[in-house]
């Protein structure tokens, strides 16, 4: 049985060191906030200008001028701060954010990330993705292992437009947790019931063990 989205989020939460500053991308990574360990001292950064992002507000307490990078209403935890976009990207590009968890369309065995455009598809834009992917101390990608038509998304080389080159250090998918190591993906953890053969068949690059 592959990992559910919730299990993927739980696995991702375990990657977060205590007292670290984390930026959660839009989509799957947003779920990770539900699994942060209590008393762990994790501070969430949102690139639109929050350090110390808190949970969604209680009904009736929504402030349209207090949103996250997904444009959802949020809150600020005690000790949090707000700032302009230049300082926010100083945090990101300057390597001050410890960990960025990003959704991905494709990841290559050399750590290239593609997550902003599908060839021939609508151009949705880049947003903060390129800065986040290349600026953080550590970048982890979260994604389904294969696309809807079954084609692999972990590849020897990405064929979608790149977000950043050689930045992904770990990939969390519904089938496994893997590290791009240059000549393939090193297996860290296999989802229960998924065989190594099945993983290999679903991956467009060599799987290395141990």
């Amino acid at each position: 049985m592959p990992f559910s989205q919730e299990e993927m989020a739980q696995k991702a939460a375990l990657e977060i060191p205590p007292n670290s500053i984390v930026n959660l991308g839009i989509g799957l990574p947003t779920l990770v906030a539900n699994y942060l360990l209590p008393d762990h001292g994790v501070w969430l950064h949102s690139e639109n200008g929050i350090l110390g992002m808190g949970p969604y507000p209680y009904e009736g307490e929504e402030d349209p001028q207090l949103i996250n990078a997904g444009k959802q209403t949020v809150t600020i935890v005690p000790g949090g701060s707000t700032f302009d976009s230049a300082l926010s990207f100083t945090m990101i590009r300057g390597g001050h954010v410890d960990l960025v968890l990003l959704g991905a369309m494709q990841v290559s065995m050399t750590g290239d990330l593609a997550n902003w455009a599908i060839p021939g598809g609508r151009v949705m834009g880049i947003g903060g993705a390129m800065d986040l992917a290349s600026g953080a101390k550590r970048t982890i990608a979260m994604m389904n292992h294969v696309s809807r038509d079954g084609s692999p998304k972990l590849l020897a080389e990405c064929d979608f437009p790149l977000t950043a080159k050689g930045v992904v250090s770990r990939v969390i998918t519904d089938l496994a947790i893997l590290d791009p190591v240059g000549d393939g993906f090193r297996l860290v953890e296999l989802a229960p019931g998924v065989t190594l053969d099945a993983l290999r068949a679903a991956t467009g690059a060599p799987i290395l063990e141990g």
Binding site: Y56, K71, S85, I126, G135, A164
Partner: protein, 242 residues
């Protein structure tokens, strides 16, 4: 040194949004603050429609969302070029792009704001690692620093910056509210004429010097607008614990 300074004389306060646009012309390059619809100067956006100008270059993170904000300009057909970072949920811009009616330059968000910051700071160009090895690097000079490649990016300036403020005084000192700050204080430095649309106009001296988010040197015009729609894009809530 005993300067006889009389700060209140500024002449920066305008009575209504349309008159605050004095001097705007067809083809103007306009920066507009906001992350999506959060932090939009709503009255100035509307007044531009009334002013009749067209052929505008808009510099804004999203150029509108969900048919609101700058999407009003797109629908009115007065924008010919947009420089922005993200178009998701902005169906109007997709429609215009599909028709070929709009030239769009998409910039990584960190590079977008840094280009404006540099224009404001008299830095003509800078190197950034963001975008190396991607389409963003096409046609740009690459140089290595400590063995790491970086792209040369140019300063980005404008004729006008329209920014949303929480509080402003007649000299143009500004404070922002929460995430409505976003690009506003940077855009203010990068434009020839910055207009601050403030929820509250307060007297000179009402802000402590240490609490000014944007000093008035960067704000040429001030407009008080007490009522704003402030639309929600995604109103999310959590249940109250008992």
């Amino acid at each position: 040194m005993t300067p006889s300074i009389s700060p209140p004389r500024t002449g920066k306060v305008f009575e209504d949004a349309l008159s605050a646009l004095e001097g705007i012309q067809d083809g103007a390059r306009i920066m507009v603050s906001g992350f999506g619809l959060c932090g939009n100067p709503e009255a100035l956006i509307s007044a531009v429609l009334d002013s009749g100008v067209r052929n505008l270059t808009v510099i804004a993170n999203n150029t509108g969302n969900l048919g609101k904000g700058l999407a009003l300009w797109l629908r009115a057909g007065i924008v010919s070029r947009a420089i922005c970072t993200y178009l998701g949920n902005n169906h109007d811009i997709h429609e215009l792009m599909a028709k070929g009616a709009l030239e769009v330059e998409i910039v990584p968000q960190g590079t977008f704001v840094e280009r404006m910051r540099c224009a404001g700071a008299g830095i003509p160009a800078f190197f950034t690692p963001t975008g190396v090895g991607t389409v963003v690097a096409e046609g740009k000079e690459v140089m290595e620093f400590d063995g790491k490649p970086a792209l040369l990016e140019r300063a980005l300036s404008a004729d006008f910056a329209f920014i949303r403020a929480h509080t402003a005084d007649p000299f143009g000192n500004v404070r922002f509210w929460r995430t409505a700050r976003n690009f506003a204080p940077i855009m203010a430095t990068a434009a020839k004429i910055t207009i601050a649309e403030a929820d509250n106009l307060v007297p000179i001296g009402a802000m402590d010097p240490d609490d000014v988010h944007l000093p008035g040197i960067f704000v040429q015009r001030v407009l008080e607008v007490r009522d704003h729609e402030n639309p929600f894009e995604y109103k999310m809530t959590r249940p109250r614990e008992c």
